[in-house]
């Protein structure tokens, strides 16, 4: 035993060293994203990629003031200051202009999406006549001078078609002034920036937003108190993380103090506290170490649950201390049954937790690994170290004795009150019958976190100004090797989406196709024009419309305009590529890229899905709807796991007891507690979420302990005092720690708190009631 103790101590020290060296806490969003099965794997990858993408790192900053010169001055000063931060400022229209200039020399390669079908009509005799008439009309119009300069080289105004397509990418009403985008009324300026780090890189984003939050008021004060507001996904993430951290600190502080107070009230002797807390510390340490080894980092949410483990891991030392102090460990049967109860209780808890490992959600898997390893370590440390601190000659403090006596008497009283037992069970059944049919599920993962209403309002003000798109609905092309293959598929996708727009299935879309086409499509356009459109035909049409044909050179000197190579992405400058092209590509996995198209106003998602069926590489996603569906699917899967876990626990208990009464008394409480807690929450119109189901799993694992403790104490012929008091303290500490999560401002933590707080309390009641009702006192039998 001494060797085992030393080995455990050495092991804990090693783990502590590892934790100190490798501790990394994350708040990554993918924690909540399901991994899914093969079919939804791509969608999950897309969501992960989107969460890291440039789109999610974009920051829009609006500067509002009394007039244009004031906001321009402030915006320019802000631009200078922003350059010192880990951001990349987007210069917006300059890149579009650069691209537009480049596109002009490629005008014959960007004429039609379907050159073989459209060009014969567009550039046939009648088509040319119509195009030349259009040139004449345009030259005579107020904007005639805009096309005058290009008309000699481009009498068909093909470059204008390209530019009109390009303009679909930017529907904003902002105009550029002195390098700054300004609103129509001139009272607001907008700057765009892209953060260097991902939107969900907690510490880096927190640091950046601390700097921005300090910078904005400074610039504002220097420029007549202009209003500076920002909109960014990362800002919400930082705010949510701040809220979660504050929650964690508050809940864990209160729960730790409350649990310590409870332990001191019951055990009186302060020197027992280290015995009671050592398993907790060991559990927390081992849980952290195992998670770091398995996942490389620990999510803040896992720590939130880890701190709540305080309530569970105290059960074992509490039970042992009560047994060793109150029963002096004298009765051999009682001694053996106490240890069996501990091991069996921990085993069922770990079984319940391990079910989460196969849930397919990284966050739950991490919590499961943390919990299972932590609970196991807490049990081992309890068994090895708690007996060391109990002196054989210790007298039992009066208060401790009194509380055990009260607990024992309460249980004895219950054994004589069959009607109370009936009443409790009937009330539970009625609650279940009324509540469970009303049960509603809330599967939208956005509801798991709370958005700061002030930030949300600010966000909407800025988004209104920049006419931002929410980007919730999109099509992503995947499964293609090269950029060119993706661009070819993108050309095809644009045709499908154009048809969908014509059929009013879709309001519109923004795509890289508005900006650049695949080399293959460019070549097809040029090939057709080279083969079928002589320059003389254009000049003849011009002459017929009273133009001076000699003044035009549509194909350039010696046909140079038809000898250009297709425009390649590599032909663009680094900055143009980074600003205009890169945001459309997603890095799904190493060596695997996706290409994004944003949809506007999808009116008939089913019809759109049908239209896209011809392109297996195109994945239509409504991000929020997909997440909700994925979470709903995941929840259903989790409920199945719960059933599976229940069967495992049931088999374990059946193997142990081989009799229906103790089996019912040990398995019944968590099952009844889970159902009743769900029903009660439904009765108060609280929709249940994935986190409630997760709590249910924990109720199943922990609630079984209470029944087991009662059953084993009765089988071991122990006095009722020690086990009743132990179960009471275990339940109290669990409610104090998990139950306090119900006060959290983070809905995810609140859901867990509601279910576990209520569930464990009910599990205690049902464990006491069922044991008192169904189990005979083996001491009576012996007598």
């Amino acid at each position: 035993m001494k060797f085992l103790r030393l080995a455990s101590l050495a092991g804990l020290l090693l783990i502590a060293a590892f934790v100190v060296r490798s501790l990394r806490v994350t708040t990554d969003l993918s924690y909540f994203l399901p991994e899914g099965d093969a079919t939804s794997q791509t969608e999950s990858e897309i969501l992960r990629a989107l969460s890291q993408s440039e789109l999610s790192r974009r920051i829009a900053i609006a500067i509002s003031g009394k007039d244009e010169s004031q906001v321009l001055d402030a915006a320019k000063a802000l631009k200078v200051a922003l350059k010192k931060l880990p951001l990349r400022l987007s210069s917006g229209p300059d890149e579009v202009q650069e691209l537009a200039v480049k596109l002009f020399s490629h005008r014959y390669q960007f004429v039609s999406d379907q050159p073989e079908q459209e060009l014969p009509e567009l550039l046939g005799r009648d088509g040319l006549r119509a195009l030349i008439e259009n040139l004449k009309d345009t030259l005579g119009s107020p904007t005639g001078s805009l096309v005058r300069e290009v008309a000699a080289k481009d009498p068909l105004l093909l470059s204008i078609r390209m530019l009109e397509r390009l303009s679909k990418l930017n529907a904003t009403s902002l105009t550029s002034k002195e390098g700054v985008l300004v609103s129509e009324d001139g009272k607001a300026a907008v700057l765009f920036a892209v953060s260097r780090e991902g939107a969900f890189e907690g510490p880096a984003q927190a640091q950046l937003w601390r700097q921005l939050d300090a910078l904005f008021p400074r610039i504002s004060a220097q420029h007549g108190n202009v209003t500076i507001e920002a909109s960014a996904l990362a800002r919400h993430a930082v705010s949510a993380e701040r809220g979660m951290r504050a929650d964690m600190l508050r809940v864990s502080t209160i729960s730790t103090v409350a649990v310590l107070l409870l332990l001191w009230i019951v055990f009186v002797r302060l020197r027992y506290l280290p015995l009671l807390l050592l398993p907790l510390g060991a559990g927390f340490l081992v849980g952290t170490g195992v998670c770091l080894a398995a996942f490389g980092a620990v999510h803040a949410m896992t720590f939130a649950f880890g701190s709540a483990l305080i309530g569970v891991a105290t059960d074992y030392p509490v039970h042992l201390v009560n047994h060793l102090v109150l029963e002096r460990g004298n009765a051999t049967g009682s001694h053996r049954h106490s240890y069996i109860a501990l091991v069996l209780g921990a085993f069922t808890t770990v079984l319940g937790l391990l079910c989460l490992v196969w849930g397919g959600l990284p966050g739950l898997r991490e919590i499961a690994v943390f919990g299972a390893s932590g609970v196991s370590a807490a049990l081992v440390v309890s068994l090895l170290w708690v007996p060391v601190g109990i002196r054989p000659g210790d007298t039992v403090p009066l208060r401790h004795l009194k509380m055990a006596e009260i607990s024992g008497n309460a249980f004895s009283w219950l054994r004589n009150q069959r009607s109370v037992c009936w009443l409790v069970l009937v009330v539970a059944c009625v609650a279940c019958a009324r509540g469970l049919p009303q049960l509603k599920w809330e599967d939208d993962p956005r509801k798991l976190t709370t958005l700061d209403p002030k930030l949300t309002l600010e966000d909407s003000r800025v988004q209104k100004l920049v006419a931002g798109e929410n980007g919730a609905e999109l099509v992503v092309l995947t499964g293609l090797g090269s950029e060119q293959q993706l661009l070819e598929a993108n050309d095809k996708l644009a045709l499908v989406l154009d048809r969908a727009v014509q059929a009013k299935v879709l309001g519109g879309y923004s795509s890289l196709h508005h900006l650049i086409w695949s080399e293959e499509l460019q070549a097809r356009n040029l090939d057709w024009i080279r083969a079928k459109l002589p320059e003389g035909a254009i000049k003849s049409a011009l002459e017929q419309a009273d133009f001076a044909g000699d003044a035009f050179a549509p194909f350039g000197e010696n046909g140079s305009a038809l000898r250009v190579s297709p425009l390649r992405l590599t032909d663009l400058s680094g900055r143009t590529y980074q600003e205009l092209i890169a945001p459309w590509f997603l890095s799904l996995a190493p060596g695997k890229r996706g290409l994004l198209t944003r949809l506007h106003a999808v009116k008939d998602p089913v019809a759109l899905q049908r239209a896209l069926a011809e392109m297996p590489e195109a994945h239509y996603m409504n991000v929020s709807q997909y997440q909700a569906q994925a979470y709903a699917g995941f929840r259903e899967r989790l409920l199945l796991l719960l059933a599976g876990g229940l069967i495992l626990v049931a088999l374990t208990l059946l193997l142990r007891y081989r009799a229906w009464r103790p089996f019912i008394c040990s398995l019944g409480p968590p099952v009844l507690a889970g159902l009743t807690a769900s029903a009660l929450l439904a009765l108060v119109h609280q929709p249940l979420s994935l986190m409630h189901v997760m709590g249910l799993l924990l109720v199943l694992g922990m609630g079984a302990d209470y029944g087991i403790f009662f059953v084993e104490s009765l089988l071991g012929r122990a006095a009722f005092g020690a086990p009743s008091l132990s179960v009471g303290i275990a339940c109290g500490s669990t409610v104090l720690s998990f139950g306090l999560l119900a006060l959290s401002e983070t809905p995810a933590l609140r859901a867990v708190g509601q279910m576990i707080g209520l569930g464990t309390l009910l599990a205690l009641v049902f464990a006491a009631v069922l044991s008192a009702w169904l189990l005979k006192d083996t001491r009576e039998q012996a007598a």
Binding site: P142, T143, L146, L166, K177, E184, G186, F547
Partner: protein, 222 residues
Amino acid sequence: MGKLFLNRRQCLAAALLGPLGATLPAEAAGEPHCPASVAEVLQPFSKLVGLKADFVEEKRILLLKKPLVNRGSVVFMAPGNLVRRIDSPTPSAVWIRPGQFWVRDKSGERKLDVARWGPANVLVNSFLYVLRGDVGALNKHYRIALTCNAGAWKLELMPRAPELAKIVRSLRITGQQAAPETLELVDGSGDTSLTRFGKANNQVRYTEAQLKRFFSSPAAKP
């Protein structure tokens, strides 16, 4: 956005031509009088509140064998609103407001970003300087030559800045006594636009809503 790369230097030229001829009040009949200075020619502009005038514009574009002829009207509201509308052959309109330039043609209504390109902005403002009779501001951007013969005067404006000279070679306003007759713009490419004004009503007053309607609806009468 898409048209940003194109040269918009002459885009306001047509608008510039419109109201000038209509702004000078008719002078009492009598001996032909030659204004002694540019300030004297432009002085009546500063008192304008609103006006309306019809015009015929002849655009001679080097690419075309025959001139394009536009017919329409201009409506002005002090201090800086002007709508110039072409009714035939192809309806279109421009609306110049302080710092803004709106266009309506067959492709719809849109705002052009004139401020992005400095010389175009000067051109817009030059037009407003004329309407306000702001000789000082005009002198800042143009060398102005005044000639007069038997009461028929001619103002010739030559850009001072090379950037402005790229989009407008010269601007000529002619008139008889206090009534302007023609406006001629020679743009950077050598194309010319000659506008002849009909009878002007310089006593009209408009609301912004009326101007907007006149701009947006080809059928609206101010």
